[in-house]
Amino acid sequence: MSSHHESILREPLVTGENITYSKVTEDILVPVENKPNKAWWIGFIVSAIGAGLWVFSVSWTFWFGIGEWGLNKTVGWAWDITGFVWWVGIGHAGTLISAVLLLFRQNWRNSINRSAEAMTIFAVICAATYIISHMGRPWLFTWALPLPNQFGSLWVNFNSPLVWDVFAISTYFSVSLVFWYTGLLPDIATIRDRAMGTRRRVYSILSFGWNGSVKTWQRFELVSLILAGVSTPLVLSVHTIVSMDFATSLVPGWHTTIFPPYFVAGAIFSGFAMVQTLLLITRKVMNFENYITMFHIESMNKIIILTGSIVGVAYLTELFIAWYSGVEYEQYAFLNRVSGPYWWAYWIMMTCNVISPQLFWFKKIRTSIALSWILSIVVNIGMWFERFVIIVTSLHRDYLPSSWVMFYPSWVDVGVFIGSIGVFFTLFLLFLRVLPAIAMAEVKLLLKSSSDQAKKKLIAEQVVDSGEAEYYLESLEKYDSISPKVAEFQKV
């Protein structure tokens, strides 16, 4: 048999009554096949203004040079690299959901992987724009690549983590794009076969001629599995290499071996928070409550507690090792972080990243949509400050006290940062309009095994243990997509 029934004790991944394969298609394609609603337009206009600000600020930077930023001779890296690391980190959750959770056979990933992967791609685009714009002379970006040139050829230094970063980020972006697009093919074909006229022609080109034959699906599944297998170490390598941009230097506060795992955990932490921020709104505005359920929200919050706690342990370990090393420069760097002129940034980071996610231990909080959303934003504020603290507080007081300074961002710094958020949301909102935000084919796989409807049917047929059935019905209470009255009624 092609479908097996999973344990009744597992919470449903798809809710709603009278769910059929065609209803899944209909529900998910509503935003793609209809004119956008008011909420979408408001969001889009605000984001597009942000994107305009980005274009203006980046053009300004290109025209006048990076002297327009608040950098000075002591703090040579500030908001640019903070923004870069922040965006790359946010991108990591998408790959984690699509690859790592696939390898672990976590079926709840099926309804969130598409939008999380899209988020990855847009976040890496935002990160890449920082790399280009902080180069000073961005038209010479090809100098970062090992291309034959008229200086000898003078090759890039492959011993440098900055060159590793070029390879890591470009591989990460292109492999994520391929993974995402291959997964989209069957769903684009669905849109194609329902559309007429020009729409059909456009989606026909985009669908690569997908027809859903046995052999196509068989190879598709293997390709997805292998891409997941290679993306998993890839995503770990990317943030490891990003952390090595700092860790292989000799700057106190950067020169630590804890950086790779600490950065990777932080990346997953901020990425899941961003997925939460986006999906809580998307499910509401697009009426996806039956596909992105309370179980998904709660599971993501649990991952946020786990990774937030790892980040917390890393912060404390850093402090301990600084003291234990006996190196006075190292000790000063951390003392300065905690109690120096940037103490407020350090404590914002500590509060947002270490304390606030611990609130998710309370079931009331992690199953509350409003609180989950607020905390997801708090986490990303904290993660931005983490990178700011690492970068700016380590630099602003170097070995020579006469060069000690503070960093003050210029309006261009602020414009590029706020603008990059605008670019990100513009791309995400366009994605919601033209492509299905939930992987339809993958959700259809869950209908017969993991939907509330299938489980209720088992209970009605009385083929499951009544104690277990009761446990299942009780677990439905937290679901906002199942009205409490229905749940109560069924219990009786």
Binding site: S153, S174, A189, R192, R194, W217, R219, V230
Partner: protein, 178 residues
């Protein structure tokens, strides 16, 4: 003989589809292909489709990537322009590993996906070879070549008994667009 080219049995449920395949095979009706909106697990064994060799392809491309990376870096840093960096060895293998890894992944992913598109004839702009428009939405479709199995009534009955909700006799192989 009529000009029916293909008989399509539509099913609403993957389990009925599997049952239909069994019934057709019991009656020695050959199945041309099956079109579904989602992957059906276990269908390859039933239809006698061999395991895909794409895994080996990915491995081969990955290995090519590793070799490309190490040869490129060795040529540039050791042979073409060796630089004295604090008297350290030119062939600094540990430093080369990150890029060797990245290129392994890059080549494996692109090589495998490229091969997949090539063998399945997937390409931008390619006309979709679709037999029924609902096969990408909510119908699970078995296609039977009517010329190879010239007894449509018998096939219709088998499909109906197996739970097919709709049976189509197509005179053209693919649904034409315009």
């Amino acid at each position: 003989m009529s000009n029916i080219k293909y008989i399509l049995g539509h099913f609403e449920d993957p389990d009925d589809l599997m049952h239909g395949i069994d019934k057709l095979q019991e009656n020695s009706v050959s199945i041309y292909d099956v079109y579904t909106p989602m992957p059906i697990h276990g269908i390859e064994d039933k239809l006698g489709i061999k395991r895909s060799r794409l895994g080996k392809v990915a491995f081969g491309f990955g290995l090519t990537g590793t070799i490309t990376a190490i040869s490129m870096i060795t040529y540039m840093l050791v042979i073409d322009w060796p630089m004295n960096i604090g008297g350290k060895p030119h062939f600094a293998l540990p430093d080369f590993i990150p890029i060797m890894f990245e290129l392994t992944v890059l080549f494996a992913a692109f090589g495998m996906v490229g091969t997949y598109f090539f063998v399945n004839h997937l390409a931008p702009g390619r006309a979709p070879r679709v037999m029924d428009l609902r096969a990408t939405n909510d119908r699970f479709v078995i296609a039977i070549d009517a010329r190879a199995n010239p007894y449509p009534d018998k096939i219709d009955n088998i499909l109906k008994e197996a739970g097919a909700v709709e049976i189509k006799h197509n005179e053209r192989k693919y649904v034409s667009y315009e």
